[in-house]
Each structure stands twice: as C-alpha cells, then as structure tokens.
Subunit: 351 residues, 2 copies
C-alpha cells in the first residue's frame, strides 16, 4: 500500500509500505478515506521536534476492512473515526476519561505505528479506540467534519473544557490555527457569552466570526494583553484557550485570564519561559490541558456534527490527494492553508 | 511604637516607628497580640527576593484600638484576625472569591504598609479585611490556631482546594514546612482518604501523622516520584499539594499527579524550570494555586478552629517576644523551628 513517508525535515514523499495485517486479536485494519495534516506535524516537518523516519499522520477516518478475533463493537465495513491516540478503555486513565494517557495506548504515525496519511492502517486496541459513525451516504461537508473529530475539534474542545468555559463565560482564544478555530466552536458550544479571537489573518478572522467569535483582536503580545484587559474592564477573561504553544502565546494567555480562572493549553510548548510558574502563582491563574482525550470526546461531538450544530470541517481550506501529500504540508508550512485535507482512495492496481 | 525592622539580608532588629493613626476613613488601628514569621519571609531574609527596608511581617491577630468613620462590621475592642492581604470586598476579584488579587488590596509588611511584627498596625479597608473572632477568653492553644488563620492555614487550604481534593481522594503533600503541614490538615478536612506526606524530618513526620497523613515518604526527587507511583499502582495521586516552590518540588508534584488531575501550588517559585510547560501538556496535569485568598477562607476555617476540629497552631514550635524577633527568623532559617510565634504585648513606657 502507499503511504506518506517522513524522510527528514521538509522531506515528505509517497512510498510503498507493506499492507497492514492483523498482528494481535485486538487489532483492526482500516482503509483510510480521508486524512489530514496536523499543526503539530509541522514541528517535525520544520525540524523543530524529533520524529521517527517513516509513516506519518495521526488523523483519519475510514472503513474497517478486517477485525481481529477479540475486537468487540466494531465490524468489517463499519465507517469509523480514529482518535489520534489508541487506547484500551480499561486502564485507570481511560476510566478517568483521560484516554490520551492510556497505559497501553500510543499515537498513530510514529514509533512504528502506521500513519493515517496512508491507504491502510493497522489500528491496535480497535474495539476501544475506533468510533463507528451511524448512518451512511454522508455529505462531503459532514465527512470533513467527521475527519475533524479525529483530533483538531477534540483538541479545541479540550482547551475549552480545560479552561472551564461555561454558560455565560467571557472567553479568549489565543491562536487562529485550526485548533484555535475549533476552540471558538467549542467555547460557543459550551455556552460562552463572549468570545474574543486573537487573529490577524482576514480569512481566519472571518471563519472565527462564523464559528461564534464576538470580537476579533489583531494585536499580539503586550498590545493584545492591554486590549483584552481594556475590553474586560481590567478584569481579564473568565477562561482562555491557548492553542499555539509558543512562549509569547502562553504568556499572553496567562496574562489575560482573570485571577482564579484557568488557561486551557493544548499548544505543544516551544520556547515557553520558566516565568510561567511565577505568573501562575502571583496572578492566581491556572494552566491545564494537554493531549486531548479524543476518544472520550468524540461521541458527544459526533452527535453535534451529524445534526449540523457544529461544522468544524470548515477548517479544511486546502485539499489534495496522497500523491501530493508533500504539498499538503507545504501549504500549511507557508500558512497558505489553515489545514490540509488529503483524500485517500486506494488505487486498485491489481497487485 | 516598637516593630521589627528589616535592614537587609540577615539583618532584622527591633526599632521605633511612628504610632499608626487612621489615615483614611476605612482604616482601623489594631494592637497586635500575636504575630509570626512566614516561610516566605525567609526569601528576603536570605537575600533571595527583594523587599523594601522597613516594617515586616504579614501575619497577626490583635485587638481593634480605633476605627475610621466608614468602617462597618468592625468596632473598637473587637478581637480580630488579619488576613495577610487587605481587600475591599467589592472589586470583581473579591466578588469572585479571589481576595488576594483585590484591585485595591495589598500585603502587610512591605511597600510602606505596617508590618504585623510590631505593636500596632494600621489596617486599610478594615471593614472588608479583618475577621472578628466571636467569644472571649480563648485558650492559648486556640489563640495559636487563630494566628495560623492569618496565612499559613489558609495557604495550606488553598493548595488543597486548588488541587481539587475531595472526599476519598488520594493526596500527596510535597513539603513539610508549616504550609505543607497545614496542607495535610486541609486535605484531611476535605475528606482525603489517603495522604502521603513527603518529609524527612522526624518531628515534622510525627506532626504530619497527627494532622492526618497516612503515609510518610522520606525520599526526594526521582526516588520520591518512583515511590509515590509504586504506592499508587503506577497511577499517581488524585491531587498533589506543592508547598515548597523549588524546581525539584514542583517537578516532583507534577510527576506524581495522575493525568487529568491538578497540582495545587502555593510555594513561591524559585528555580522552577521551563520544562513544567511540557510536563503540564504531555502528562495532562494542571497547575493552579497562588496567593491564598485568606479573607475568603477564614470564616469557614474559623468555625473549625473554635470547635477544635482543626488545630493548625501546632505548627508553632518556637516562640519568643518582639525584642527577640531576630531569633524567630534565625530559628526558621536554621530549620530549628517549623514556624516561629512572636508574642507582642505593647510595653507601656509612659511615653
């Protein structure tokens, strides 16, 4: 089968990989229909984080081709969403709802596990990992939103949940990437009364507004901090979603959140300063978040996607096919794309 | 009047200061009965944090001598607890329960505000700051616990509340100083089923056990992390109280807390590493706490002190008078004392 292969920074190509097979009785083999590129993929793409050479991509939806003898709840031909981390559903962390820290879990597309940016994926612990999607014949719009549930929408939701957004909250979303935009959706869905989106990019500003942002701020750094404080009568927001991970964005989020409140952080930290400890203590602002427990969130969000109450698939503003996967990365790296979708129809070459 | 004066690192003496008077109609003047030294006082005592030269001490209880014309709810001769930060009770942060971040608030014993380690203190915003203590003729044991409510017990409680301790929680308390020991009291009071106290000092270990610790760990660093994980079947604790503030103690607290849970941090950060951001994200462990909103906590804790359900005054294992205040600092600096109490009876010299 064909799959995207990471050969090092800025070097991604399509290559041949062995067809995945059932290795363990809890495995399934899934034929990928749609995949996408994550903002976090850009860290290794740019050489800023380590990553094994080989298979990549951790977001995909597809059709089950085969299941192992111990897989329950998932059957051949099911159409499924794969959360970006597989999990056993029974360990203490899974039982506590933190499926992203499953004792037996792991991520797709690294450390020898098949990547989602390929034709076929072996899914470990399939019965407790994959989420079957009810119905059939979903529109392309719905399909794109289902794909968003594999990671980006769950990650934006995790930022919102971690920051404690509730009915009537005044919220700020730091970051206008796909995660930040999904954070706007999540904040709105949780009842936020006011959503201040920090963005200086007109198309992203427009999408943020469509998703529920009530205010757009183009400022960054101290100017952004001052502006948010001014907009909130000096108090700060009830909850901030940190969806970037840089030193500046984390510092901004901590500075604009009112004492006693939380910053929900889902950005992968890069260049974050040690001074955050002092800010947390001296401003009485908390920091919580991390790797989204997508498997735990998908069922609730799925209902909203299927009934068109949320439409996170709109973050995909670039699309291509597996042959052009390198271009999917380049478009995001150049910030020409918010998020790149990859249509993966297996080519039946008669092999 | 006489008061402790900070003249620079390791240089504390008793000096004469002008008698405090009512400056604003919201002020009260309080004659101090008992004061004490805070672990955070040691930072400037040791020259590790900046501090204005002059009055020091932010924990005291005493008797109201005089009130301004606009003070409500507090009257001459009331016996009162002063939370270590004064507050207006009406700003957005006070209304949200975060009195330690009051827009018009400030701390005693720095920046020109009278210190508690003196005979008399001008208390700004007295009506919304001071907490009157019902009854009279309290035992010395009770008096010591009332003094503990001005800061240390509230700070331990804040660590417990911030970490989310609830009925049945498995808790770890990092730090066996007075705050950590009060954290044990607070965790027990909130219903923790198991309390692991990290301490290598036998008298503190004994006090921790008396306060409700079920397990004592003498290990530090990686050995402590491994031990806590082993004690919790590899899962980690439901809540950790960080009551030290060093890089090692914060790292330990973050490492022993189970994913999805919180570390309640009340230690003043010194030497904390930037890597905490990555730990927070990649372990899904939150960090929240800060300066305890003592004014908001005192009423609830006061009832428990007056009915002898908690006895935080036991953290005072050294006592002296104002003349010997320098020795109160030395005893804590040398770790001969957990916490030093200072009895302050004004000397009537006929001036």
């Amino acid at each position: 089968m064909r799959a995207a292969i990471y050969n090092g920074p800025h070097a991604i190509e399509v290559g041949e990989r062995p067809d995945p097979v059932i290795n363990a009785p809890t495995d399934a083999v899934v034929r990928v229909v749609l995949a996408c590129v994550c903002g976090s993929d850009l860290w290794y793409y740019r050489g800023e984080s380590p990553h094994d050479l080989g298979a990549i991509g951790h977001e995909f939806i597809g059709v089950v081709e085969q299941v192992g003898s111990e897989v329950r709840g998932i059957a051949k031909d099911d159409f499924v969403i794969a959360p970006f981390i597989y999990c056993d559903g029974t360990c203490p962390h899974c039982l506590a709802g933190v499926t992203s820290q499953c004792v037996h879990g792991g991520a797709f597309g690294n450390h020898g596990i098949d990547g989602g940016q390929g034709e076929v994926v072996r899914v470990p612990l399939a019965g407790s990992t994959l989420v079957p999607v009810p119905g059939s014949g979903h529109s392309d719009e719905t399909m794109r939103s289902l794909l968003a549930l594999s990671d980006v929408m769950c990650t934006g939701h995790h930022a919102a949940v971690s920051s404690g957004v509730k009915e009537g909250s005044v919220v700020a979303v730091v970051g206008d990437g796909a995660v930040g935009l999904c954070g706007v959706i999540a904040a709105k869905r949780l009842g936020a009364a006011r959503i201040i989106a920090l963005s200086r990019n007109p198309p992203r500003q427009a999408l943020a507004r469509d998703f529920g942002a009530t205010d757009i701020l183009a400022e960054r750094g101290d100017a952004a901090i001052n502006a948010v404080l001014e907009m909130t009568n000096g108090v700060g927001v009830d909850a901030a979603l940190e969806c970037v991970g840089t030193g500046q964005s984390v510092a901004t989020a901590l500075a604009i959140t009112r004492p006693g409140s939380m910053v929900g952080i889902v950005g992968v930290p890069h260049g974050v300063d040690a001074s955050i400890a002092e800010t947390i203590v001296f401003r009485n602002v908390g920091l919580r978040g991390g790797v989204a427990p997508a498997r735990a969130y998908i069922p609730g969000l799925l209902a909203d996607v299927l009934e068109s109450r949320i439409n996170p698939g709109r973050v995909f503003d670039f699309e291509t096919d597996l042959d052009h996967v390198a271009e999917a990365y380049r478009a995001m790296d150049d910030r020409r794309a918010i998020k790149s979708l990859i249509r993966i129809g297996r080519k039946e070459t008669g092999r």
